[in-house]
């Protein structure tokens, strides 16, 4: 992390180029695909925010070892999250892909699950079926035709950048990078421990899905979902309006 002089920070407000704090995010996963594209968009959008505040994020690919200077790890690595979490030390590890419920009830201290769990998806489908017994649907974290809550804007930015529609995996990558970015903008002096604590304590993270997002004790992101028809059309939002418990009506697995 390179510090600017106080006077330089004032100049940076007007001119922009001075970076007061730089952070490296380690990425474990395939070099292409929706998840890493979402991450790239999220890092770039965090840097739009950071340009005004003197904070810069860089995404670096990581293989077996977590780079020493990385402040967080972002993992598109189903089946390997526990192992990565064990190697990450005090750094927050974002699970972007693995939906396994046991991974949530294990309540790993440094893991934050952005992708919804199997239990969340199943509870959402249950709510839909209860209200619409004759219309099958699945649940997902995101839909490329969502427009409410500025989803329209995010879908357009992703499509413009990559030429492919934004799906739930892309959303998970995007959200993780934005959540890390926004937290570091507010605490540019943070190390991995402070970042993890701030993320776990945040109660108003913005996923462009309307409701504020926060992390449950299990590390699972509390979030709304969407209902999708067998033909891939957007049908509505989960939880259904008035579901008791609100966002926690969806797969709130307790710690074991």
């Amino acid at each position: 992390m390179r510090m600017c002089f106080a006077t330089a920070v004032v100049v940076a407000l007007a001119a922009g180029p001075c970076v007061a704090a730089e952070f490296t995010l380690a990425y474990v996963g395939p070099s292409g695909g929706a998840t890493v594209n979402g991450l790239r968009l999220g890092v770039d959008e965090s840097n739009v925010q950071g340009e005004f505040l003197g904070v810069k994020l860089t995404l670096v690919p990581a293989g077996g070892e977590v780079p020493e200077g990385a402040i967080a790890v972002l993992a598109d690595a189903p089946g390997k999250v526990r192992e990565i979490a064990g190697r990450a030390g005090s750094r927050p590890v974002f699970n972007l892909t693995d939906t396994n419920d046991a991974l949530r009830s294990a309540c790993l201290p440094n893991v934050l699950h952005v992708i919804p769990s199997d239990a969340m998806l199943a509870d959402a489908v249950g709510q839909w079926s209860g209200a619409n017994p004759d219309r099958p649907a699945t649940a997902a974290a995101w839909h490329h035709k969502a427009v409410k809550f500025a989803a329209r804007d995010l879908n357009r930015r992703f499509l413009d950048r990559f030429g492919t529609p934004m799906d739930g995996q892309a959303w998970a990558g995007w959200f993780a990078a934005r959540a890390v970015g926004d937290t570091l903008m507010r605490e540019p002096g943070a190390g991995p421990r402070e970042l993890l604590a701030a993320l776990k304590g945040a109660d108003g993270l913005d996923g462009q899905k309307g409701d504020p997002h926060s992390f449950r004790a299990s590390g699972q992101l509390r979030q709304g979902l969407v209902f999708v028809s067998p033909d891939g059309d957007l049908l509505g939002e989960a939880p259904v309006r008035g579901a008791p418990g609100g966002l926690d009506s969806l797969g709130n697995s307790p710690c074991e």
Binding site: A14, E45, Q49, D153, M185, R186, G204, Q208, G210, D211
Partner: protein, 318 residues
Amino acid sequence: MFRSILLTGLIASLATAAPTHRLFVSNEVGDSVTVIDSRSGEVQATVTVGGRPRGIGFSPDRKYVYVALGDDNAIAVIDAQTLKVERKIPAGSDPEAFAVHQDGTIYLSNEDEGLASALDPSTGEILAEIKVGLEPEGVGVSPDGKQVLVTSESSNMVHVISVSEKKLVANILVGARPREVAFSPDGTVFWVTSEVAGHVSKVDRASNKVVAVNNRLRREINPRVKPKGVLLSHDGSRLYISLGRGNAVAALDPDTLAVQATAEVGVRAWGLALSRDGKRLYTANGPDATVSVVDTESMKEVATIPTGEMPWGLALDD
């Protein structure tokens, strides 16, 4: 002294058209502006205006109603008397909201381009484009006319623009999804609503620091609260905020931000307007397609008025 009052009144009447007593409502999905007689509560007209009208406000002389048309990349100019759409001024990409400077310049947010633009409506010239954060929305002009504020909804900031230099002089991080700003009459502080965070913040203009936050609105009012509109009462004693899906408006103490009173209104209350006498507060209720009329003394909804589809913003000429 009496003469000076008369003279002042005369100048005021020359400079400003007689009030039409009309409440203008932008209908985001209806592509129209509903015109309501604020004295009777009757709908007088529905003016077809163009694609995705959101931000709405008056020229300084109140002769014209400006409406930001996001899908037409323009500001529509409606004659407040005849209700004729006089013209549409190109305003850059996706204009969402705006504020009109005392000198007549329209400062607007271009949502999809991440820009704030200064538009001279008399010539149609875009005087400046200033890069701000993602999804810029709420715009406010300081009472002294020296600064313009623009919120960026997806970058969680209030950007402070110098009017003389047409450039950024400060960027203030606030709670997630900041949507609207309002200044105190003396310009020493401003307030900003944060929709996803559920906050209202007070910012000291001299230091550009957040000096008070109410982050308890969801606990104290209801868990669905999403602050959007913000407006200070004319006597400065109350800060009114609309609460979106909280389906309510709240009156806060402008200094401490403590909740003084709330009133239930229609679904997803966004746009706000206050009558000149301060007795009636209006909210635009999107999915309900209504405007609620709230008596500010009792803080009760006393009437609802039908609008076009998805009412967004309000502008009252009384």
